[in-house]
């Protein structure tokens, strides 16, 4: 049972019973005049008060007026027992006869709230109760006939009959009662006078009727002593009037006029309890709840703490929706008795609705901006396809791009773009580099478009043999935001650290200066009247000279940008050169040497406090939107100042508390709305204009004037009047919204028109410009978002924190169609593994927690169709995030391929053995291309057979063993051998030579690619990769294979070079050994033998000297001759080791001595002027020596010419004969040894010897600079360095 029903049950039956009993007693009374009428009147009055009280109690459960009404009625009915003829009951009835008057006085004074407001009122009421009980009852003790009625029963309370005392007492009480009643009436009148017009409308009827009743009772009581008739008559009149009084109370109470005043007050005061608390106060329902409607109607409501709620009322509760312009914003859950007060509910819902809408607009705007930003972050701005020559082949412009369009058409040259020529050069060079390397290249550049410096990032990828793609992203915002965010962060830290305002002003000025690239920044505080402002903070860039007031000085605002801020209350920008600046303003800027100014207002608690202004000297200008950026800083300043103000307010709040009642009265009068009371015939009856409504400048004598005479558009006035007529006709609230130009600015106003009398209505005017602007901004922001969404190449999702798809945007060209519906759960996404979804949700939550972009990658699909996706997460609301999914399979493949190539290249560079590289290459190729198997083969001489030298296969797959030799028989390897190019065989596409089809089928191979390995221009082998049915290699796989085989070629060339070098070294060593052996033999066979002979001859001669002197002499002569030959042979031998003439005199004389020993004419065409380094001279000498020896032995030549010259840092040695030719350098160790000797010096030996056409031997040997030469070159400023050798 509801509380109100219980009240009815408790009160109504006893009241009925008492009423019935006393009515019967009165009707059958013998001492009552007109007993029937008395009985009826008594029951009517008592019943009316009880009934009105019960209704009031039900409708206004928290208002005591109902109880007081019931008390009046009940005591009135109880007082009816005086009609009885029984003495005790009659005496009791008389004793309490006056009690209803006490309650009535209480009721009147406490109306309409049911509470007494002042000590005086409480005193009056208490006095009343004392008078009607003690005062009235006391004279029963001494007065035997208190009612002056002879038929009445005897006084049961009579203590002693004392006429004198009784008369004095009765007269005193009567005088006191009359005086008291007059005092009550006076109090009521005073309250009425102090009441507001709205309150008076409620108070008047009740006070008039109640006051009149009291007056009549006063007359009736006062007249008792001198005119019984007058007393009787006025008593009757009072009783009749009293019948209507409770209904007047009731009607006044339920009109809710004052409830409305409460709403206005609540809106003005904005108590800290929040909207729900205010609703509870306004509805007098402590359990009332405010629910917010979710953006998607299907998702229902949330309560003020954000918990989901059903707007289904429990028993005894009711739901009132909050709507604005047909849109559901929320709901109020309240006591169902409030349904009887639709006006109150409507007012509260409208007031709260306005507030919610304002908040929602702000939130929606923020959310929309966040989404836009998330999209911009995730979006490439613009894509161009450009040929190698710089011709635009294709343009994909992004309509949502922040940058101005480049204006480039298909077919035009990139040099037609607005960016600087050197930038275009860089762009083309980078494009060519991308083409050359096949890799993604990224560069950044600046471009000035329409005076606005933008920062662009270009990503270059080859898109064909002679064309590349440039994806240009505008990163200006990102760059600026980075700088700006850190600056804001510093300021915010300072604000949070409760820095003193003076210090903060300078900090803000400095940060604003650096973020906006300003030359000068000032913070100014407006002086009252906004004619002047005081500089409170100042910053000037290094080396900048700007004439402006210093901190503490005051400046006049006439014709300044700062005044413009005051006028518009918005961030502004003034550019001297844009032609829009007024002459006065331009003069002001020139006077301060300023070219461009941005400024933004600082608002504290809704009041314009000051301004931040930044300036640039000529010829610079701020970038577009700089003024809006400034706003972010001024908001922080506002916050800091509000903090400061709040601290000050806190200390003042104790005083404020005392004055709170006075203040609330004043607030009632100072409702935020402008109001006009207008008569039906168009006269202004009353008005009040509050800022920011500035249309009707209050003029003297406006009251009583015609509404059409006001300075206001006539058509708007006409519409207001028509709606006023409608309000009067229907009694319903009318809404009127319009735009109007106020002092050059377009503003939106809302009128609420409600009847205020039979022929008048009230127009409440509100300025709703701010709300409208928010709505418009929101709309345009959403349009931008939509445009971006549609232009996106990626699939996009908006997902709630609990994993529900809120929005899905699928790109038509997407490689992966979306298989989900809005409202479904991400966990139900078909084909997505659970761990991927878990990672997605975790990243989304991380984005929500940190507020930062999160990026993760995952794999989807299976072998053969494995795709990589990248997800970027940004928060798009409190409990939802934005997910942009991009297919990055290609990029991923490229990355893996690059890594694989890198590993192979490292192995090659690390001089790994060829066998190791072969296996590595096949494995990397297999993995990168997703092959089932890969082989590396070497061609056998003749190109008919090949040997497998490296192999890799997927675990479990069969493979050919390394070392196996097979016939190529027209397969892929054979085709590569013949063409020298990569090939692809696809069984499905019929690209396989007929005789190879069967072989592929036998092996179960469906797709096969091969690329050549070439060493020093000759086919060496191939890498072959294969896939079994039904898979196929992706397009271009064979070309990518080529990248690997090129590395193998390189490795093999290295290997071959290494082998040749080793062989050359070995030959040089063995040639040296052989030479030494020859020398030893020559010494042994020649000079040594001769010396042995000489030794023996000398010994023999010695032995014969005495016996046979003649023979001894002959022996000595022989020994002497032998010794001469030995000496000559030793000289010859030494010359063979290293010609002394070469060491001592150089190449020319050495070659001349060679020529002398050559049996045919030698002609020297040219010889070097200077000495060459020793090893070069020696090599040249032996080349000529060997060549001449060969000529003499084999050539059958008639002449030979020799030339040695130094050219371009090289020694060139040439020996040409006119002999038979046909020399074969491979055969014969002489020439081979020469080549080794020359190559050991990094030189090169060539033998040209066509049969019958003579022989030319030509050697080229680099001549290293001597350290001294290098030093000299260095000192003279030439190239090279002292250490260069």
């Amino acid at each position: 049972m509801s509380p109100s029903a219980r009240v009815w049950l408790v009160v109504a039956p006893p009241a009925l019973a008492v009423g019935a009993v006393t009515s019967v007693l009165t009707a059958r009374s013998e001492h009552v005049n007109l007993p029937g009428l008395q009985a009826a009147l008594g029951a009517l009055i008592g019943g009316a008060f009880v009934a009105a009280g019960l209704i009031a109690r039900t409708r206004r459960p928290l208002n005591r007026t109902g109880w007081l009404l019931i008390a009046v009625g009940f005591t009135w009915l109880l007082g009816g027992v005086w009609g009885t003829d029984q003495s005790l009951l009659w005496t009791l009835g008389v004793a309490f006869m006056a009690l209803p008057a006490g309650f009535l006085i209480h009721l009147l004074l406490a109306y309409p709230s049911g509470r007494l407001h002042s000590t005086w009122e409480r005193l009056v009421v208490v006095t009343g109760y004392v008078l009607v009980t003690v005062g009235h009852g006391s004279h029963l003790l001494v007065e035997p006939d208190p009612l002056q009625c002879e038929e009445c029963p005897s006084n049961a309370f009579l203590v002693s009959e004392q006429d004198r005392v009784a008369d004095v007492l009765t007269s005193s009480i009567q005088i006191i009662a009359v005086a008291y009643l007059l005092a009550v009436v006076g109090t009521l009148f005073s309250r009425w006078r102090r009441a507001s017009p709205a309150a008076r409308r409620t108070l008047t009827p009740v006070f008039v009727a109640g006051g009149a009743t009291l007056l009549l009772f006063a007359v009736s009581v006062g007249a008792q002593t001198f005119s019984h008739t007058l007393s009787e008559v006025t008593g009757w009149i009072a009783s009749f009037v009293l019948v209507g009084v409770p209904f007047l109370f009731l009607s006044g109470l339920l009109k809710s006029r004052l409830a409305r005043a409460d709403i206005s007050r609540a809106l003005v005061e904005e108590p800290t309890g929040g909207a729900q608390e205010r609703i509870r106060q306004l509805l007098h329902d402590p359990r009332a709840e405010l629910l917010y409607a979710c953006a998607e109607p299907s998702r229902g409501y949330v309560d003020v703490d954000g918990r989901p709620r059903d707007a289904v009322a429990e028993p005894g509760r009711a739901v009132t929706p909050i709507e604005r312009e047909g849109r559901l914003l929320g709901a109020i859950v309240h006591d169902e008795v409030l349904l009887d007060e639709p006006e109150l509910l409507e007012e509260v819902a409208a007031a709260v609705g306005l507030e919610i809408e304002r908040d929602q607009n702000l939130q929606a705007l923020e959310a929309s901006e966040r989404r836009s930003r998330a999209l911009l972050d995730a979006l490439p701005d613009r894509i161009f396809r450009v040929s190698r020559e710089g011709i635009i082949l294709d343009v994909q412009e992004n309509p949502g791009s922040a940058t101005p369009r480049a204006g480039l058409q298909v077919g035009s040259s990139v040099y037609d773009s607005p960016v600087a020529r050197e930038v275009v050069d860089r762009i083309l060079a980078t494009g060519k580099l991308a083409l050359q390397t096949g890799e993604l290249k990224t560069i950044e550049w600046d471009v000035v478009l329409d005076g606005d410096r933008r920062h662009a990032e270009g990503r270059f990828v080859p898109s064909g043999d002679d064309e590349f793609l440039v994806v240009i992203r505008d990163v200006t915002e990102r760059k600026r935001q980075e700088v700006e965010q850190s600056a804001l962060h510093r300021v915010a830290l300072a604000v949070a650290g409760e820095i003193r305002p003076e210090r903060m002003f300078d900090l803000v000025a400095e940060e604003v200066g650096s973020v906006l690239g300003a030359h000068s920044v000032s913070l100014l505080r407006y002086e009252p009247g906004f004619e002047e402002a005081v500089v409170v903070g100042r910053w000037t860039g290094d080396g900048v000279e700007v004439e402006f007031a210093a901190v503490g000085e005051s400046v006049s605002l006439v014709a300044t940008p700062i005044h413009l801020v005051y006028e518009t209350r918005r961030p502004i920008r003034v550019d001297l050169e844009d032609g829009k600046t007024s002459p006065e303003l331009a003069a002001d800027l020139r006077a301060h040497m300023v070219n461009s100014v941005v400024a933004a207002p600082i608002t504290v608690s809704g009041r314009l406090w000051g301004v931040v202004a930044a300036s640039l000297t000529p010829p610079h200008a701020f970038w577009v939107g700089a003024e809006e950026r400034l706003g972010a800083f001024t908001r922080l300043v506002s916050l800091a100042l509000a903090n400061e103000e709040a601290r000050e307010q806190l200390s003042a709040s104790l005083f404020a508390l005392e004055a709170s009642e006075r203040r609330s009265r004043a607030l009632l009068e100072a409702s935020p709305d402008s109001m006009f009371r207008i008569s039906r015939d168009g006269r202004i009856l009353d008005y009040r204009v509050q800022p920011p409504i500035r249309i009707f400048r209050p003029a003297e004598g406006m009251i009583g004037s015609d509404v059409y005479d006001a300075d206001f558009p006539k058509e708007i006035t006409a519409r207001t009047m028509a709606l006023g007529e409608q309000a009067l006709a229907t009694g319903e609230l009318q809404l009127h919204e319009y735009e109007i130009e106020v002092e050059g600015e377009l503003r939106y106003q809302e009128e609420r028109i409600t009847p205020s009398g039979a022929d008048e209505f009230v127009v409440i005017v509100r300025d709703v410009t701010e709300r409208k602007r928010q709505e418009q901004e929101l709309q345009s922001s959403e349009r931008r978002s939509r445009a971006l969404l549609e232009a996106m190449p990626d699939n996009m999702f908006r997902i709630s924190a609990d994993g529900i798809f809120l929005d899905i945007q699928e790109t038509p060209s997407s490689q992966r169609p979306v298989h989900a519906k809005v409202g479904s759960s991400v966990y139900d996404y078909p084909g997505a593994p659970r761990n991927v979804i878990d990672r997605v949700m975790a990243a989304g939550k991380r984005a929500l927690e940190t507020g930062e972009l999160q990026t993760i990658e995952w794999k989807l699909g299976s072998e053969g169709d494995l795709r990589y996706q990248e997800g970027r997460f940004m928060p798009s609301g409190e409990r939802e995030f934005f997910l942009v999914v991009r297919d990055v399979t290609e990029r991923k493949r490229r990355e893996e391929e690059q890594a694989a190539l890198h590993r192979v290249a490292l192995a090659v560079a690390g001089e790994a053995r060829a066998e190791r590289i072969f296996d590595l290459v096949t494995e990397e190729v297999g993995r990168v291309l997703g092959a089932h198997g890969a082989n590396l083969i070497r061609y056998e001489p003749g190109g008919e057979e090949a040997v497998i030298v490296g192999g890799w296969s997927e675990p479990g797959a069969s493979s050919e063993p390394v070392g196996e030799r097979y016939r190529m028989q027209g397969g892929a390897a054979h085709t590569v051998y013949r063409t020298g190019r990569p090939v692809r065989f696809e069984l499905d596409e019929g690209t396989v030579p007929p005789r190879f089809v069967e072989q592929m089928q036998e092996m179960g191979v469906n797709s096969l690619i091969a690329a050549p390995i070439t060493v020093t221009g000759r086919p060496w082998g191939a890498v072959i990769a294969s896939l079994t049915a039904p898979h196929s290699f992706p397009a271009g796989a064979e070309e990518r294979l080529g990248a690997f085989t090129r590395l193998v070629s390189l490795a093999l060339a290295n290997e071959e070079a290494r082998e040749q070098l080793a062989a050359s070294r070995a030959r040089l060593v063995s040639a040296g050994d052989e030479e030494r052996r020859r020398l030893e033999r020559n010494l042994h066979d020649g000079a040594q033998q001769r010396l042995v002979s000489v030794s023996l001859s000398l010994r023999l001669a010695q032995a014969r000297l005495a016996s046979d002197p003649a023979e001894a002499e002959a022996l000595l002569a022989g020994a002497n001759a032998e010794l001469s030959v030995a000496l000559e042979e030793l000289r010859e031998l030494a010359r063979g080791i290293h010609p002394a003439v070469l060491t001592e005199r150089g190449l020319g004389p050495a070659l001349a001595s060679l020529a002398d020993r050559t049996p045919l004419p030698v002609e020297f065409e040219q010889l070097p002027d200077e000495r060459l380094p020793g090893q070069v001279e020696a090599a040249a000498y032996y080349v000529v020596s060997e060549a001449l020896a060969n000529v003499a032995k084999y050539a059958a030549a008639s002449s030979v010419s020799v030339r040695v010259e130094q050219r371009n840092g090289r020694a060139v040695i040439e020996v040409v004969d006119d002999g038979v030719g046909g020399a074969q350098p491979e055969h014969g160790s002489g020439l081979r040894g020469l080549a080794d000797r020359v190559e050991a010096l990094d030189g090169h030996l060539a033998v040209v010897s066509p049969a019958g056409k003579g022989t030319t031997i030509r050697a080229e040997i680099p001549v290293p600079k001597s350290p001294l030469d290098a030093l000299a070159a260095y000192v003279e400023g030439g190239v090279g360095s002292p250490g260069g050798g």
């Binding site: 042994h1084 066979d1085 040594q1088 033998q1089 001769r1090 010396l1091 042995v1092 002979s1093 030794s1095 023996l1096 001859s1097 010994r1099 023999l1100 032995a1103 014969r1104 032998e1122």
Partner: protein, 119 residues
């Protein structure tokens, strides 16, 4: 056995053969023959059966040690003395292994050194 020791000189250098013959004959040896290479040395030694074969290590056809081994293997009656313009240390144990009686450096050749090796 007569008192005079017979000698076969084997060397590819004629000047050495001439000087050695003069030297040895002047000291009472009987130079019964000369050979310029290994093959003719074996032939001459077989037919002449000298007391001593003065054998050069370096011969144009067959290594002197092999010639020495051939001459001494079947218990031939000639004593083989190796000679060379090189030092004995260059050959080490090769001389003894070949079956030769000893080694004389060419520069130290004399009747006395030869006789001392034969005793």
């Amino acid at each position: 056995m007569s008192n005079v020791t017979t000698v076969l000189i084997v060397d590819d250098h004629p000047s050495f053969r001439g000087t050695a013959r003069t030297l040895l004959e002047s000291e009472g040896f009987d130079v019964v023959g000369e050979a310029a290479d290994g093959a003719s040395a074996i032939q001459a030694a077989t037919s002449l059966e000298p007391d001593v074969v003065l054998l050069d290590v370096h011969l144009p056809d067959i290594n002197g040690f092999k010639v020495a081994a051939t001459l001494t293997r079947n218990g031939g009656r000639s004593a083989v003395i190796m000679t060379s313009s090189r030092d004995a240390r260059d050959f080490g144990p090769l001389v003894e292994q070949s079956g030769a009686r000893g080694f004389i450096a060419k520069a130290e050749l004399s009747g006395a050194t030869l006789t001392s090796l034969l005793q």
